[in-house]
Amino acid sequence: MKNALVRPDIDTTVARSLAAIAFIASDNAMTQEPKAREPKRLEPLTPPELVVLVQSIAERRCKASFQELFGYFAPRVKAYLMRLGSDMHQAEELVQEAMIMVWRKAPSFDPGQAAVSTWIFTIARNKRIDAIRREKRPEIDLEDPALVPQPEALADGVVEQQQHARRLKEAISRLSEEQAKLIQMAYFADKAHGAIAEETGLPLGTVKSRLRLALGHLRKELKEDVL
């Protein structure tokens, strides 16, 4: 199965690393090589710390960094898969496959494109579609020359991208409880909106329009945040 996350553009690796280093220095997050921490550590790692871990896997095949990344993400990915209906055993297996994928695809991770947590979320999501729904995942291929490019420099830099996660969390926390719940259900229901309609007892059309409203609200919050 192909995956849009594969971006073997070696030329940009150096530029990316430099950008990440500049960012990390500016954030005072970490100025030295990551050392192996306790593998079971569950306190949040910061987005820049996570970028450093993935980059040391990509560049030096660093197993200590992988171990740390595993300790942080495996239990979270497992919770996500179980929330979507996998049993303990299946979730465990999918997490293992997803984390091996993280090891293999680390060189294609682009910190200017997404946070590490977002990247791993998409890997776990695709593993799940593949294994449970037995469907292919039609994926946008960012390397495709037929892709219509962005008109101007709309793209965020590494710093903006990695700070985005925090702004997102804040924007979600400002939503009403009902809107936050509705959006959350859109991610944790196995099938698209029909399942939400069933669970809430609302007509499908109502679910869709309320969800659209909630998402519009969230995106507006995020845009205003930038200004």
Partner: protein, 240 residues
């Protein structure tokens, strides 16, 4: 009803689509809850549309935020050791490489519209010139595509320049993604990259603009219903 597009942009002269995909559909794609057939529409539209790509990235980040906030589930003992033991095998895993159209192919096809973007290109097995068309009615040809979602019919249609489709309504949802040419119906004009989503409330007769044939990717989850005077007679012969 035709679902409203959720965002717009004012890029004058840029060949960007003007009819987009709604936020709730983009979210379902980002969450991975959308069927393969509908995902093909969303992903291929997004190849034409940087705005929808941006929105999808945003919705994936939201998914990651929710994942992050779940109460972590402890992994089984030995899980990490098992994964660590597999890491060195990875060279043996074949990497799937997508064949992109070469620069040469692009130059040969002066009309760049015949180049299909991914993921559609992989489903078609090439570009528009590689499609084997089957005539349906005068002015209309089709080619079925295979997806694993059994509840959906996915196909390319080619409407001759200036030809009108039969007047029809829908028993379910009909997604149309325009690949080349343009068509009009009572709700407006649709050109390359545009998406139209129609349901039972839409009774329309899309008509290709003169000049060039109009090729679309169509996904339906139920047969359409011909509603014109002649069409009613043809209903038994239209299988989608």
């Amino acid at each position: 009803m035709t679902l409203p597009s959720s965002h717009s942009h004012g890029g004058t002269g840029s060949p960007l689509p003007t009819n987009h995909i709604s936020d709730e559909l983009l979210t379902a794609y980002a969450a991975g809850t959308l069927s393969e057939a509908e995902s093909l529409i969303v992903a291929t539209h997004s190849a034409f549309c940087p705005l929808c790509r941006d929105a999808i990235a945003e919705f994936e980040a939201i998914g990651a935020t929710f994942m992050d906030e779940l109460e972590p589930e402890e992994m089984a003992a030995g899980s990490l050791d098992f994964v660590m033991s597999k890491l060195d095998d990875d060279e043996a895993w074949p990497e799937n490489v997508v064949q992109h159209p070469s620069a040469q192919t692009k130059a040969e096809n002066l009309d760049s519209d015949v180049i299909l973007p991914e993921p559609l290109r992989s489903y078609v097995g090439g570009d528009l010139k590689d499609v084997v068309w089957r005539p349906v009615i005068r002015g209309l040809e089709e080619a079925e595509l295979s997806v694993s979602s059994p509840d959906y019919n996915v196909r390319l249609i080619r409407v001759a320049a200036g030809a009108a489709m039969p007047q029809h309504s829908h028993q379910g949802l009909e997604y149309t993604l325009l690949l080349t040419g343009a068509y009009r119906d009572s709700s407006g004009r649709f050109a390359r990259g545009d998406v139209q989503i129609a349901d039972g409330d839409v009774d329309h007769q899309p008509t290709a603009e003169p000049g060039e044939p109009c090729v679309c990717l169509i996904v339906t989850d139920a047969p359409i219903k011909l509603t014109g005077p002649l069409g009613r007679l043809l209903n038994p012969f239209i299988t989608y």
